[in-house]
């Protein structure tokens, strides 16, 4: 049904399509803005379709290798290179495929939303160009098998996101937020580059599988690991380096904030990929595992306590994003702490990792949905300040429904998807260390309390006179939110199917370093 050509070349096409579309967009925009909308939406739809085809293929037929510039897509090691994979390689295993699914769904929902929400703004050709570049960066980051290539895509992503955060200058305040984000991410990226230099100097390779097969965990590797963990934890907004998150998330246009959530998940993916696939059992699993767990617990607690007193609805949600990132770090950190200890790994390690990974996809969906609802409210009301809103439930019914779905999911209330993944995290973390599980539950309750407050101040109460003529959000925006809400509900209703088909292969792919290496190097 699907042409073989597309399936075979899907890893390349999913990067080519948004990249080409991004740079044709300025020309199309000169014709008319309506055609541009169709063009951008179409390009994103095609990208999502290709990405989903690739992900489906990976889940059904196993890890896919795509070697750029070789005669055949699977020829990782050129015959005259002495056994070293020298080319840029995309290695898409189930974990990458999961991230591809997240990007495809969110990207498509968000572009639908922003076609309508950005209509009245100027300078849109650069907006969509940068938007598609962000998608390119995320897709490249999560599928590459070459560590320098990872750095390049990371930089594409940071440049595009910084441009988009500053996109509505807002009297300079948005630029200030973008400045904060970009200075930090540039320094972080340079730290990653130093780490890459260390790997190259030590192992004469840039291919992740090759480095992994030669990994010694010497002192230099430890320095590199610290640099990478620090940089990527900063990029995903974990606590000691979280201060850019509320600023950047609250000042960016809402659709971009939703995409930034996906981007931070991609950084999280990079962190897991490097810890598990590059180092795996060579590192001191208990120490690094606890390091990640502590980062996670700090993020959870600090994020939620900072969120409660916020008055700006997007700032509040941004702090919750920090807090939810903590759950993923906690889950996967527990999995890492018992890595190499097979009985414990089987007892609760895999479950914890599955919970953490499941939470990645759930978080991207409900947090994206919440930010989109915040954008819809801002479009109609013109403020993010909770104290000035009220009574919107009368006029924005669909937005209210979507907000409820997102809020209940983030608080971990059944039958929504947040509950499914949080339950897995509670169960497994309780077996590892009961205190951590209790902290996680308390944070969840505080999250619920915070969102009840938000819900009350936005939607409840009598209809306010100043918002008498507020209308429901436009149809395209509702469609975008609806897609995400549908995923939230479906994942919540059928968690078993999702975990079995999407999450478990991903967790096992992450743990199984041998398979990751042998896909590229063969044999072994």
């Amino acid at each position: 049904m699907i042409p073989q050509f597309i399936v075979e070349n899907s890893p390349a096409l999913m990067v080519i399509v948004p990249l080409v579309a991004a740079f044709i967009t300025p020309f199309i925009g000169r014709i008319s803005s309506g055609i541009r909308s169709i063009w951008v939406g179409g390009a994103m739809a095609v990208t999502s379709a290709i990405t989903l085809i690739l992900a489906f293929d990976v889940y059904s037929a196993g890890t896919r290798l795509y070697v750029f510039g070789a005669r055949a897509a699977s020829a990782a090691i050129p015959p005259d290179s002495g056994g070293i994979p020298i080319r840029i390689i995309f290695e898409v295993d189930p974990m990458s495929a999961l991230m591809l699914v997240i990007t495809a769904i969110s990207g498509f929902a968000i572009i639908l939303y922003s076609l309508s929400s950005e209509r009245s703004h100027t300078g849109l050709e650069s907006y969509y160009t940068l938007f598609l570049l962000m998608i390119t960066g995320i897709l490249g980051m999560v599928s590459t098998g070459d560590i320098f290539n990872f750095f390049v895509f990371l930089e594409i992503l940071s440049l595009a996101s910084a441009g988009l955060i500053a996109y509505r200058i807002d009297g300079g305040v948005a630029v200030e937020a973008a400045l904060k984000y970009f200075v930090l991410s540039t320094i972080g990226a340079l730290a990653i580059l130093v780490a890459i230099g260390i790997y190259y100097g030590e192992y004469n390779a840039l291919n992740m599988a090759m480095i992994a097969s030669r990994m010694q965990f010497s002192l230099l590797d430890q320095v590199a690991l610290v640099l990478i963990i620090a940089a990527l934890a900063m990029k995903c907004g974990a606590v000691p380096m979280h201060f850019w998150t509320p600023d950047a998330y609250s000042m960016a246009p809402s659709s971009i904030t939703a995409l930034l959530v996906v981007a931070s998940q991609a950084s999280l993916y990079g962190l897991f990929r490097i810890v598990f696939s590059l180092y795996s059992v060579t590192l001191n699993a208990v120490m690094v595992g606890w390091l990640i767990i502590i980062l996670g617990v700090l993020s959870m607690v600090v994020g939620v306590t900072m969120a409660i007193p916020q008055k700006n609805v997007k700032r509040l949600m941004a702090y919750h994003a920090v807090s939810q990132t903590g759950y993923m770090l906690l889950g996967v950190g527990v999995g890492l702490a018992v890595l190499g200890n097979q009985p414990l790994l089987d007892a609760f390690g895999y479950l914890a990792m599955e919970g953490g990974i499941f939470h990645i996809i759930n978080h991207a969906m409900y947090k994206g949905l919440l930010f989109l609802t915040a954008g819809a409210i801002f479009l109609r009301v013109g403020t993010y300040n909770l104290n000035k809103m009220g009574g919107l439930g009368h006029s924005m019914k669909w937005t209210m429904v979507f907000f409820i779905i997102g809020a209940l999911a983030i608080a971990g209330i059944p039958p929504f998807n947040g509950f499914a993944s949080k339950l897995m995290i509670y169960e497994s973390v309780f077996m590892f260390n009961p205190v951590l599980a209790v902290i996680a539950m308390v944070v969840s309750i505080l999250t619920l309390a915070s969102f009840v407050k938000v819900f009350h101040s936005i939607f409840m109460g009598p209809k306010l006179p100043e918002f008498a003529d507020v209308k429901e959000a436009p149809l395209a925006m509702l469609l975008g939110m609806g897609i995400l809400a549908l995923v939230v509900v479906l994942f919540g209703l059928f968690p078993g199917i999702v975990v079995e088909n999407l999450i478990t292969p991903a967790a096992h792919a992450l743990v199984d370093q041998g398979a990751y290496i042998s896909t590229v190097l063969g044999g072994a």
């Binding site: 930089e155 305040v173 630029v175 200030e176 320094i187 990226a189 190259y200």
Partner: protein, 114 residues
């Protein structure tokens, strides 16, 4: 000893750059700190590929003797390209901040919190 000189320079540049980023109040000087940090990293990459007595890796010279490694040079070039984009974006942010705030002192760029 002579071998280590580039690496000593890398460390010195990194310290200078970090001190500039942390202590300077002028936004442009902070950006210059970032550019210096980039140079330090680039120097680190280049010095990784150095082989004693090696010549520049140009194919048409095709020497039988050793060449320095071309890969770190390619990495450095990529990093320089990214650095250009980074500095351009940072400087345009500085221009906008100057226009909107009338100052590029980082003490004055504090409107977000309010």
């Amino acid at each position: 000893m002579f071998w280590n000189l580039p690496l000593i320079a890398v460390v010195a540049l990194t310290i200078i750059a970090l001190a500039t980023i942390v202590f300077k109040k002028n936004l442009i000087k902070v950006f210059l700190g970032i550019v210096i940090l980039e140079s330090a990293v680039n120097l680190f990459l280049i010095s990784l590929g150095y082989r004693e007595g090696g010549i520049a890796p140009i194919y048409t010279n095709a020497p039988s003797s050793a060449m320095v490694l071309p890969t770190p040079q390619a990495l450095t070039l990529t990093s320089i390209v990214i650095g250009v984009a980074t500095s351009a974006l940072l400087l345009s942010f500085a221009i906008i901040i100057w226009k909107k705030y009338g100052s590029i002192d980082i003490e004055m760029i504090r409107r977000l919190k309010e």
